[in-house]
């Protein structure tokens, strides 16, 4: 007698469940940080294209009579944006106009540019996840590069070993440089933010001074530049002489895997994350928080120092004050964009490497100022810092509303 009453009861949840799950799946995908980052990059490219149009002489001229002949303006605008981004693409990823194997040279250049960013970004990511806001990657990169360069040109060694010793020296130098901040925080409670910023300045002036002395300056030269590193200390190339891609890229990927293991699997990384997430609970659980501070800074500085060495023995072959460029500061953005995770950091570093590798061709071929790249980088950072703003500006999120996406829910 109860069979008829029972039958619909179990059927009902089955009928409603898939619909609800689809709604929540859509919600999850659109609210994920990966979506936020991708949408942020797209929005940044769109905003940058507005700047490209505004700066383009043809488009400016056509704008004067836009109401009379709108097609002229929009044609000019399209041309400007298209030539800019296609030049960026040809410079950073694949160049169909080149001949033979050189067509893939742009993507290898992107990889080369990303190597120091991956190393430094990984180090910063470890710091961020451990609750240390290390702004000092720039100084650590510089010190690591200087130490690596010195070992590279001043200490003769057999091939193979030389590269290893250069890397170790750079890591140790960078680690000690960052370790100063870690030690001061552990001992005196000094803010690592302020100490690392100051250490950046100290590193810059220290290196600039050493480049004027016989320690680093090339004998007989008046310019502040070191002698070229010995051939034994140069990173082996991966794809032959046509390409600059060197072994450092593989080492960077290995480092990313190593950092993943360190943070996700090792007991040390467990302590790092515990201190980063709640240092009171970590301390109560018997974790020595001050030791963790010092260790984190040593590891982070070591990775940044390695990044500096890669720039010297992989790319520049000689060291000067400008060798580090803005690697340390870009690496902060890379780590933030990569959510401090190894895979994210590698992808973010590749993106920034691409922008860096593609921008010279963009300037020469399309006439777009190289500064546009900085604008794109800045807008990406601004947007990922404010996920609600991304959802507000994103057409994808608006379009998903009729399919059961709740835009307000994301905030919670």
């Amino acid at each position: 007698m109860t069979t008829t009453a029972q039958a619909p009861a179990p059927a009902e949840p089955q009928a409603t469940k898939p619909a609800r799950e689809r709604g929540s799946y859509l919600q999850q995908v659109l609210d994920s940080s990966a979506t936020t980052i991708v949408v942020a990059i797209v929005i940044a490219l769109v905003l940058a294209s507005l700047l490209v149009v505004a700066a383009d002489p043809d488009a400016q001229k056509a704008l004067v009579y836009v109401f009379a002949r709108p097609s002229d303006f929009f044609g000019a605008a399209w041309d400007a944006v298209y030539s800019t981004y296609s030049a960026l693409f040809r410079g950073a990823i694949f160049d169909p106009q080149a001949s033979g194997a050189r067509q893939i040279r742009p993507i290898t250049e992107t990889m080369v540019s990303s190597v120091p960013l991956i190393f430094a970004g990984l180090g910063l990511g470890i710091g961020f996840r451990s609750g240390l806001f290390n702004i000092g990657a720039q100084g650590q990169v510089l010190i690591g590069a200087a130490a690596g360069a010195w070992v590279g040109f001043a200490v003769p060694m057999p091939a193979g070993l030389h590269v290893i010793v250069v890397c170790v020296a750079a890591a140790v130098a960078g680690g000690i440089w960052a370790g100063i901040a870690g030690f001061l925080k552990a001992r005196t409670g000094a803010s690592e933010v302020i100490v690392t910023i100051m250490l950046n300045s100290i590193a810059a002036y220290l290196v600039a001074y050493l480049l004027t002395t016989s320690v680093l300056r090339q004998p007989g030269s008046t310019r502040p530049i070191t002698p070229p590193v010995k051939d034994t200390a140069v990173m082996p190339l991966l794809l032959g002489d046509q390409f600059r891609l060197h072994l450092g890229f593989l080492l960077a990927i290995l480092a990313a895997v190593g950092v993943w293991w360190l943070m996700e699997r090792s007991t040390i990384g467990f302590r790092f994350r515990a201190v980063g997430a709640n240092q009171d609970a970590a301390r109560t659980a018997g974790i020595k928080v001050t030791t963790v501070y010092v260790l984190v800074m040593l590891v982070a500085g070591g990775l940044a120092g390695l990044g500096g060495a890669m720039q010297i023995i992989g790319t520049d072959k000689t060291f000067q004050a400008s060798s580090a460029g803005s690697i340390g500061f870009d690496a902060i953005t890379v780590a933030l964009l990569g959510r401090s995770r190894p895979l994210g950091t590698v992808l973010a570093a590749l993106l920034f490497g691409a922008l860096r590798a593609g921008s010279p061709l963009m300037q020469t071929a399309a006439g777009t100022p190289i500064d546009l790249v900085l604008v794109i980088q800045a807008v990406i950072v601004l947007l990922i810092a404010a996920p609600p703003l991304v959802r507000e500006l994103s057409l994808v999120h608006w379009a998903a509303v009729p399919f059961g996406y709740d835009r307000k829910k994301a905030a919670a």
């Binding site: 699997r265 040390i268 467990f270 515990a274 997430a277 709640n278 109560t284 018997g286 020595k288």
Partner: protein, 555 residues
């Protein structure tokens, strides 16, 4: 003023915090809202106070429906609220706090402080509050700060006063004074809405009791109903309030504290020459009002603080110079008083939190590498053993309710062999069901032969668990009494206020608190919970240490 709530519904996403609640607050009555934590009491009051907008239903004041866009409008309609966490500015004076938001203005746009002072004085005198309008709020004891909050509400002509968990922060004596204030307010015609989950207080003071469970009014009760009846209404099943435990069989005193002094950053002794023993298989409860050195004492045992003098001997080893890690290694289990800041890492998974202080043990890690499989397997065992209601052990621990979070902490601390268990406020903020479970586990640990120290500011908990009770006051142990039936609630209350044991006994014999009186009435009315062992219902005033017959005596 007659205030009605009709069909109030409030949702947060899929959670229905209030589900069609109907309540009527009559003028001049004390109406208690009783419910477990998370039952929806505070949400309801925030709707009433204009902090939340209801999704359904209406608020009716003297027959007309009203909507309150914010607390300002609710106040204008005569509704005042004293929040659980006081909304006072510590560096302002009482008068400044009271007029904050509707300051009387004198000529030239200056605040008329004289008038503010007069207003405070007038209300304070009317109810005998004894509050100095010029005192800085930060200098006042908690009980007086609460009165400032009440003055603040009354100065805006509140006719309905909502008190949200007002006794959570008070000593028993202060609670008694608050009950007196509530009665005075009632006589003056003010309605008082008294939100609480403490059964004794409800029975002592309320005229009407409405019980809220899972967002619904599940019934009304009379103050004459027994605690057991109220509790089962509240949690929806019958509960045994008393912890069932066999008498302690204490062994050797394996944990000894000798002449312990701990200084704070300013050099003031927060633990002042304290000595006590804890024996194997006994529970020593350290009672006292929050902030009398209990926190510092437990932190020193764990090694978070260093003693400036004295020793902490565990099986003959001095814990004083050891680091936290070494103390844990020595077999000390520690349940911190604030689980969210010190006990758990909110963003870590349940499984990770369950190994927080033993992640390097060979059980889970080899050659510096944690085994996720072993960590998960451990979590699966503990979740079952401690009845932790969780979706997946890989979910962040922050997704659990407070009771289940506390079970995670307990499960972690009790999953290794212990030589001492220190639990601070082990059931703070938990519902009745979880309290029962936590208490059982603590007693089980004691029965396993572990010396146990419980620090609690809840007298009910102290009486329920303790084999011996040490009362801390201003960093010293002011006295130690036996637990169980021998412990007198009044004596303990006086000791918590700094009265030495002997004097406390004398005073308690001649003094009866409002709470104890209510217990007596109920005990007389309800033979089921009346203590069997105490034949005379009324205590003989002449006898110095006659235990007050009350339902609590049964614990």
């Amino acid at each position: 003023m007659r205030l009605e709530l009709q069909g109030i519904t409030k949702r947060f996403g899929s959670l229905v915090a209030n589900d069609g609640i109907d309540l009527t607050f009559e003028p001049g009555e004390i109406h208690a809202l009783l419910g477990e934590n998370g039952a929806g009491k505070s949400t309801l009051m925030n709707v009433l106070y204009g902090l939340y907008q209801p999704d359904g239903g209406q608020i009716v004041v003297d027959g007309t429906a009203r909507t309150f866009a914010g607390p300002g409008e609710a106040m204008a309609a005569g509704i005042g609220m004293v929040h659980q966490h006081f909304m006072l500015i510590p560096v302002f004076t009482v008068a400044e706090n009271v007029v904050l938001g509707h300051e009387p203005v004198a000529g030239g746009g200056l605040i008329d402080l004289a008038q503010a002072r007069r207003r405070v004085k007038e209300i304070s005198d009317r109810f005998g509050f004894d509050v100095d309008p010029d005192a800085l709020v930060e200098d006042l004891p908690v009980g007086v700060q609460q009165r400032v909050e009440i003055i603040k509400a009354l100065s805006r002509d509140a006719e309905v006063l909502i008190l949200d968990e007002p006794t959570a922060v008070l000593t028993p004596q202060e609670t008694d004074e608050l009950i007196g204030i509530m009665r005075q307010l009632k006589e003056a015609g003010t309605s008082v809405v008294f939100i609480t989950h403490k059964l004794r207080e409800v029975r002592a003071v309320a005229d009407t009791i409405s019980v809220i469970r899972r967002g619904k009014v599940v019934g009304t009760a009379s103050p004459q109903d027994s605690e057991v009846e109220l509790a089962s209404l509240m949690v929806g099943r019958s509960v045994t309030l008393a912890v069932e435990k066999a008498p302690a069989e204490p062994g050797d005193a394996t944990f000894q504290v000798r002449d312990l002094t701990v200084l704070d950053a300013r050099g003031v002794a927060v633990v002042d020459d304290v000595s006590f023993d804890v024996r194997r298989g006994e529970i020593l409860a350290i009672a006292g009002v929050q902030g009398n050195g209990q926190t510092e004492l437990t932190e020193t045992i764990l090694g978070l603080r260093s003693p400036s003098a004295g020793h902490l001997l565990l099986d003959g080893t001095d814990l004083g110079p050891l680091t936290v890690g070494e103390v844990i290694e020595a077999g000390v289990g520690f349940v911190p008083e604030d689980r969210t800041t010190d006990g758990l890492i909110a963003s870590f998974s349940i499984a990770e939190n369950l190994v927080l202080d033993m992640h390097t043990s060979p059980q889970f890690a080899r050659a510096g590498s944690l085994s996720p499989a072993k960590v998960a397997a451990n979590a699966a065992t503990r979740v079952q053993e401690f009845d932790i209601r969780a979706g997946s052990v890989q979910d962040p621990v922050s997704t659990l309710s407070g009771g289940n979070q506390q079970k995670v902490v307990l499960a972690r601390e009790m999953s290794r062999p212990l030589r001492l268990l220190v639990a601070s406020q082990p059931t703070r903020g938990l519902d009745v069901g979880s309290i029962e479970f936590v208490h059982k586990r603590i007693v089980a640990e004691r029965d396993g032969g572990t010396p146990v120290i419980i620090v609690s500011t809840e007298l009910d908990e102290v009486l329920a668990l303790a084999d011996r009770i040490a009362v801390m006051y201003r960093g010293t142990i002011i006295g130690t009494v036996d637990g169980g039936h021998a412990a007198d609630r009044d004596v303990l209350g006086l000791m918590m206020a700094g009265v030495p044991l002997e004097q406390a006994r004398e005073q308690a014999a001649g003094h009866h608190t409002a709470l104890a009186e209510a217990d007596e009435v109920a005990a007389g009315a309800d033979p089921l919970v009346a203590p069997v062992q105490d034949a005379p219902v009324a205590p003989a005033p002449a006898a110095p240490v006659t235990p007050t017959p009350s339902t609590e005596e049964e614990r």
